[in-house]
């Protein structure tokens, strides 16, 4: 082979090419024989290959430490809001872009643990993130989530909010979500975790999910959920397992909220995460009125108009808020 670069550099380029080629998943006898032919061409080839190999083995031995170092070096650079990463999402019915041009604030980690990347959404913001392993996470409005990947584990902490996880299969690196006092553990599946003031709920669309207390000593049982199951744990630790249509739970991702006999106060709490203008229900009895139906999240005025067709309510502006009253 004719080389126009300096001999040593050219030899190193060939050695690197061989080392990379021998990493193929289906490396064969033919690769081995061609490799031996190249190696036998000159002692410079042998020397270059030994050098490349020494470096390769050094990175192997130091892999974990290098990953930690890289994460530490990256942290200051991430402490900047990057509007370019925002995602426009179109709602089901009207096709309005609700959260156009949103910025996600990527916050520096407050924890001293190795490689943590944090994401946060505000009111009305939805965000899709693709993790290094190919897993995809959709964040609902007002959600805080942090991600920490290492060689042997994929860890996510859902401090507050709701997210749908579409987890890439990797049996060697368990994927866990810590939320409230529980750990949700999966291999490869799709599920929704909601960790809001009213409690924790996990809904599974595909695969199996293990939910257990984070600390062995803590109260609460372990559950193995399969597709179509939802586990709810309220703040008092009361558990409720039910069969659901996961697509209803997942509907917020496509700009719809689906409710079955949900108290109006909870529906309003959800809406107040989706829109900057806030709605208030001051009458507690009205707040307990059950809501059943699909709410398309196009704009707040339309949502309230549709709500008042479903329920005996009317709305009046009150300062910066919108007050819902009995008709």
């Amino acid at each position: 082979m004719i080389s126009i670069v300096s001999d040593e550099e050219g030899t190193m380029a060939n050695a690197s090419a061989w080392l990379a080629r021998l990493q193929r998943d289906d490396v064969s006898e033919a690769d081995a024989i061609e490799f031996e032919t190249w190696l036998a061409e000159s002692s410079a080839n042998v020397g270059a290959y030994r050098r490349a190999l020494a470096l390769w083995h050094e990175y192997e031995a130091a892999a974990e430490a290098v990953l930690v170092e890289l994460a530490a070096a990256n942290r200051p650079a991430r402490a900047v809001a990057r509007p370019g990463l925002s995602r426009r999402w179109l709602v089901g019915g009207g096709g309005f872009a609700v959260a156009a041009g949103l910025a996600i604030a990527v916050m520096p980690s407050l924890l001293a643990v190795p490689t943590i990347q944090s994401y946060a959404t505000g009111k009305g913001q939805h965000q899709r993130i693709t993790l290094a392993d190919g897993s995809v996470v959709d964040l609902d409005a007002e959600t805080k989530l942090s991600v920490s990947f290492s060689r042997s584990a994929r860890r996510v902490t859902l401090a507050d909010g709701e997210a749908i996880f579409d987890v890439a299969h990797d049996a060697g690196r368990p994927f866990t979500v810590a939320a409230s006092n529980h750990v949700v553990r999966v291999v490869g599946t799709q599920f929704d975790v909601r960790n809001r003031h009213d409690g924790l709920s996990v809904t599974v669309a595909r695969g199996k999910v293990d939910v257990r207390p984070a600390k062995a000593a803590a109260s609460g049982r372990a559950f193995l959920l399969t597709a179509g199951q939802r586990l709810e744990i309220d703040r008092t630790g009361l558990e409720r397992l039910s069969a659901v249509d996961p697509q209803e739970t997942f509907s917020w991702r496509s700009g719809r909220l689906v409710y079955r006999a949900e108290p109006l106060a909870n529906v309003v709490a959800d809406l107040n995460r989706q829109f900057v203008e806030q709605i208030e229900v001051s009458d507690p009895e009205l707040g307990r009125t059950p809501v059943t139906g699909v709410i398309v999240l196009d704009d707040q005025a339309s949502v309230v108009a549709r709500l008042s067709l479903m329920l005996p309510i009317r709305s009046i502006p009150s300062g910066e808020k919108l007050l819902l009253l009995r008709k």
Binding site: E9, A13, A15, S16, A17, W18, L19, A20, R21, L22, Q23, R24, D25, V27, E29, D31, A32, I33, F35, E36, L39, V46, R51, A52, L53, L55, W56, H57, E58, Y59, E60, A61, A62, A63, A65, V66, L67, E69, L70, A73, A132, D133, G134, F149, R151, S152, A153, R155, T157, D170, A171, G172, P174, T176, A178, V183, R185, A214, K215, A216
Partner: protein, 181 residues
């Protein structure tokens, strides 16, 4: 224990063993491409001796070098599979029995053959990776540092396996250049 220094006549070795003695270094470098360190590759060479010795010396081997490399390639593929299985098993074990404390898995013990790299050296190694062009750095990180196969790395990056191999090749050359002592 290499029979290279043996006083027996070369002819009594059989063609395979002769080929092994002659090609020992390139076989070692071939196997070491997929082992954690040179010592593990040496172990595989010993396995190869045992396998070669088991082949009847009278067997009619027409292309001993080709056969030797076939045996070596099989040995390497088996080795890669068994280490993958071992790490999968470890993962399974971690899932089954590891306690989690505040959402954090209790860290596993480092493998016995784990070589310690000095802190300053780790810093240099990390700096060199951080200085790679983004795609090259990502491929190196996923494939080499996080231990993913080329196919998985390709999937995660949304590029072809061929492209991953190109990135890895360029990364090695780049790192070797930068870390030259």
């Amino acid at each position: 224990m290499a029979p290279a220094g043996s006083t027996e006549q070369a002819g009594e070795h059989g063609p395979l063993l002769d080929a092994l003695i002659e090609k020992r270094e390139s076989l070692l470098l071939f196997l070491a491409s997929r082992t954690r360190c040179m010592a593990t590759a040496e172990d595989l060479i010993q396995d190869l001796y045992i396998k070669v010795a088991a082949v009847d010396a009278g067997a009619d081997v027409r292309a001993p070098v080709a056969m030797l490399y076939r045996m070596a390639a099989n040995l390497m593929v088996d080795h890669v599979r068994s280490t993958q299985r071992a790490s999968r098993r470890n993962g399974q074990w971690r899932m089954d029995t590891h306690a989690t404390v505040g959402g954090e898995d209790v860290a596993g013990e480092p493998a016995a053959d784990e070589v310690l790299v000095a802190k300053e050296r780790v810093h240099l190694l990390a700096e060199a990776v951080a200085a790679l062009p983004p795609k090259m750095g990502q491929a190196f990180r996923l494939h080499k540092l996080e231990g993913q196969s080329q196919a998985d790395t390709a999937r995660a990056m949304g590029v072809s396996v061929k492209m991953v191999e190109k990135h890895i090749q360029a990364a090695i050359a780049n790192l070797a250049q930068r870390l030259r002592t």
